[in-house]
């Protein structure tokens, strides 16, 4: 037993972090929110080139997968930088299609980042159908058809999440029972992304409270401020091992526990960040908002807290 990331995994995280920092993701997020996808596509290509989608694609189809631990490492960094787009949904599509005879047609493009995919949730919208080249929509039997996005965009609480209804009129692409496995991968990716969002919110807030002074001292020296941050830190640091434990086992209940824990911790961090920034935290123009709104949106995506808890109660933890 050695339950720690190894040197290669840490280096992978560092290189993604450096690439995403250089890419000025806040500007990309703002473009994406307006439906301007060019800078987002350029970022997508770099994320794919770093090998992120390949982690969900087997070697014979141009990938290096399946590697859920590395996928969690990568999505944590994507969340930390608020990278926009149907990232987890593209992973879902790769897992769904990987089980089908058409895998060799679709997977290389997903791994290489030349194709962006999205998948509609059973009861809701698809994320960024307007930017995706491949849309999948579930049938009531849990199979998946190709679909088209008629171009309607509903606004999300997170302006960077462009919710699109799909017209599920296409060909039946996934006729087997891959849905459960795909859901576990999407959920894991979403959990990792949420944890990254939470860590970014905490980091930004810690540096803000060290700089901002009131009553002649940094507000970070007040105990009421410190204790909220200590609680946010503790929640995030306990979500991290739950995430990686789930990535190792990939049992649905473990993944649900990871989704719940990471999203709750990220939401705690978001509430703390908003409060401790005061009024400026409540503005759209300040970059903090990019993470604040995402923390709330991810909480409901691919498994609400109650759905996750039900899975834990039904199956028990690994």
């Amino acid at each position: 037993m050695r339950f720690l990331l190894d040197a290669e995994q840490l280096a992978f995280a560092d290189s993604l972090h450096a690439m995403l920092t250089a890419a000025d993701t806040p500007a990309v997020v703002r473009d994406w929110s307006r439906g301007e996808h060019a800078s987002g596509r350029a970022l997508w290509a770099r994320i794919a080139a770093a090998g992120v989608f390949a982690l969900a694609v087997p070697e014979e189809h141009g990938g290096v997968g399946p590697r859920p631990v590395e996928l969690a490492v990568a999505f944590l960094e994507l969340g930390r930088h608020a990278a926009p787009g149907p990232l987890a949904e593209t992973v879902a599509a790769a897992v769904l299609l990987g089980e089908t005879p058409r895998a060799k047609e679709f997977l290389p493009g997903l791994a290489a980042g030349t194709d962006i995919a999205t998948v509609a949730a059973p009861t809701g919208f698809a994320l960024d159908g307007d930017a995706a080249s491949l849309c999948l929509s579930p049938t009531p039997q849990g199979l998946f058809r190709s679909a088209t996005a008629p171009g309607v965009v509903r606004r999300s609480l997170d302006p960077a999440r462009r919710l699109t209804p799909l017209a599920s009129d296409g060909e039946l692409l996934v006729a087997g029972p891959a849905g459960g496995q795909a859901l576990a991968w999407t959920r894991l990716a979403t959990a990792a992304q949420a944890l990254g969002v939470g860590l970014a919110l905490l980091d930004r807030t810690v540096s803000y409270v060290r700089r901002r002074t009131q009553f002649g001292v940094p507000i970070g020296s007040f105990q009421a401020v410190k204790h909220r941050l200590a609680d946010a830190k503790t929640a995030l640091e306990f979500a991290r091992p739950v995430l990686f434990g789930a990535a190792i086992s990939m049992r649905p209940a473990d993944v649900a526990a990871a989704k719940l824990t990471a999203c709750e911790a990220a939401y705690t961090a978001a509430r703390t960040a908003l409060q401790l920034h005061g009024a400026i935290g409540y503005t759209a123009e300040y970059d903090l908002s990019l993470w604040l709104t995402k923390a709330r949106a991810l909480r409901a995506a691919w498994g609400t807290p109650d759905e996750c808890r039900d899975l834990v109660l039904a199956d028990g933890l690994g």
């Binding site: 105990q223 410190k226 190792i248 996750c308």
Partner: protein
């Protein structure tokens, strides 16, 4: 990233499980906080020690099994899953023993550890004083130099189990004038039945004498019972505090077992909806604590030392423990009020978790200042 255990570790776990299955008392022992319960728990410690299960991580020469950190964690999981009794020797085993391994002499280890392992000598922690709780360095009890040793004077309080225990360890001011209150403290061991010691039991919420006040009136302590160098007591004590907040006081096994029992209770009572979310959260919280511990253990095995992260442990386990017990009482409904049940006893105990071993407010200060780098404020 790997969560599987080696064959040797799994064999160790299996051996522990088999032993516990055969020896754990069928009926729960009477409460540890009564004279009768204390005696029964001492006897249980002796039974554990006879087969070297009372302090598995110690070297064989002191009665242990030389078990590594991972084996110790597995033992704890088995111990609590088997429903085995609470550990009356815990203060000594989890607080004093690590201190002696780090700062004690060979002679002290050989003299103190074996009777500690067998429950023959049960130890109490004498740190707090009436005017020195969270601000431990404000303590005023004194150790005055005398021929061949020290004379202790002053008052200690809230000493867990001191009503029935044999000996105690604590900090005393040996250099009253020191400019910094952390300087000039000496760490000593003394007998609770030595001349000059008066023990006054204090009832906790339910009236049981779970802790006591100690009045010390020129109690003689020989030099051989000083731990570390005289005057360096703060440093010695802080190594104990890390153990107290961190792993050794509260292993994940305990919380995995109590969360599993909560889920059983909830199912047996027809899965009431009002508790559904809290039962799930308890299971997840216990698993989170276990996995967090695995990560910490991996870092220790790589050579890291216990640091300020142990403050996150303390806040997490104390809140988890309380949440599990509060939920259980809510699931029990009107029956939850009954005293003397496993759940209500556990609840009374859990209520103190956020207070002892350094209050959770103090731990949050440590997390904020030492892990997040926030400026020190006024204390």
């Amino acid at each position: 990233m790997d969560l599987t255990h080696s064959d040797t570790d799994e064999e160790f776990r299996a051996e522990a499980r088999a032993w516990l299955a055969e020896h754990v008392p069928r009926a729960p022992l009477p409460s540890l906080e009564t004279a009768e319960g204390f005696a029964a728990h001492r006897a249980w410690e002796a039974e554990l020690a006879a087969d070297r299960w009372s302090a598995v991580s110690w070297p064989v020469e002191y009665g242990g099994r030389d078990a590594g950190l991972l084996q110790w964690l597995l033992f704890e999981e088995e111990y609590w899953a088997a429903g085995a009794p609470g550990r009356v020797g815990q203060n000594g085993i989890s607080l004093l023993a690590p201190t002696l391994f780090d700062h004690g002499t060979e002679e002290q280890r050989a003299r103190v550890l074996p009777p500690m392992a067998s429950g023959e000598v049960v130890w109490a922690q004498a740190w707090s004083e009436p005017e020195a709780g969270s601000d431990l360095a404000a303590l005023t009890s004194r150790a005055v130099r005398t021929d061949g040793g020290w004379l202790l004077r002053g008052q200690k309080t809230w000493s867990s189990r001191a009503a029935f225990a044999d000996r105690a360890f604590g900090l005393f001011r040996s250099q009253p004038g020191a400019a910094d209150p952390h300087q000039g403290l000496t760490y000593l061991m003394f007998g609770l039945r030595a001349p000059g010691v008066t023990v006054r039991p204090i009832g906790r919420l339910d009236g049981k004498p779970a802790f006591a006040e100690l009045f010390l009136d020129d109690v003689f302590v020989p030099d051989q019972d000083v731990i570390g160098k005289p005057g360096q007591g703060w440093r010695v004590a802080m190594s104990t505090a890390g153990n107290e907040r961190g792993l050794t006081l509260r292993s994940p096994g305990r919380f995995l077992a109590s969360a599993a029992r909560l889920a059983e209770l909830w199912r047996a009572r027809g899965c009431p909806d009002h508790a559904r979310a809290r039962v799930a959260d308890a299971l997840i919280g216990a698993r989170a604590y276990q996995l967090f511990t695995h990560a910490a253990a991996s870092r220790f095995l790589d050579g890291a030392r216990i640091g300020p992260e142990s403050s996150m442990n303390k806040v997490f386990w104390s809140e988890l423990d309380l949440a599990v017990h509060e939920t259980a009482l809510d699931v029990l409904g009107a029956e939850g009020e009954l005293a003397g049940t496993d759940w209500s006893e556990g609840y009374v105990f859990a209520l103190a978790g956020p207070v002892y071993a350094g209050t959770n407010e103090i731990q949050r200060d440590i997390i904020a200042e030492r892990l997040l780098g926030l400026p020190k404020g006024r204390r």
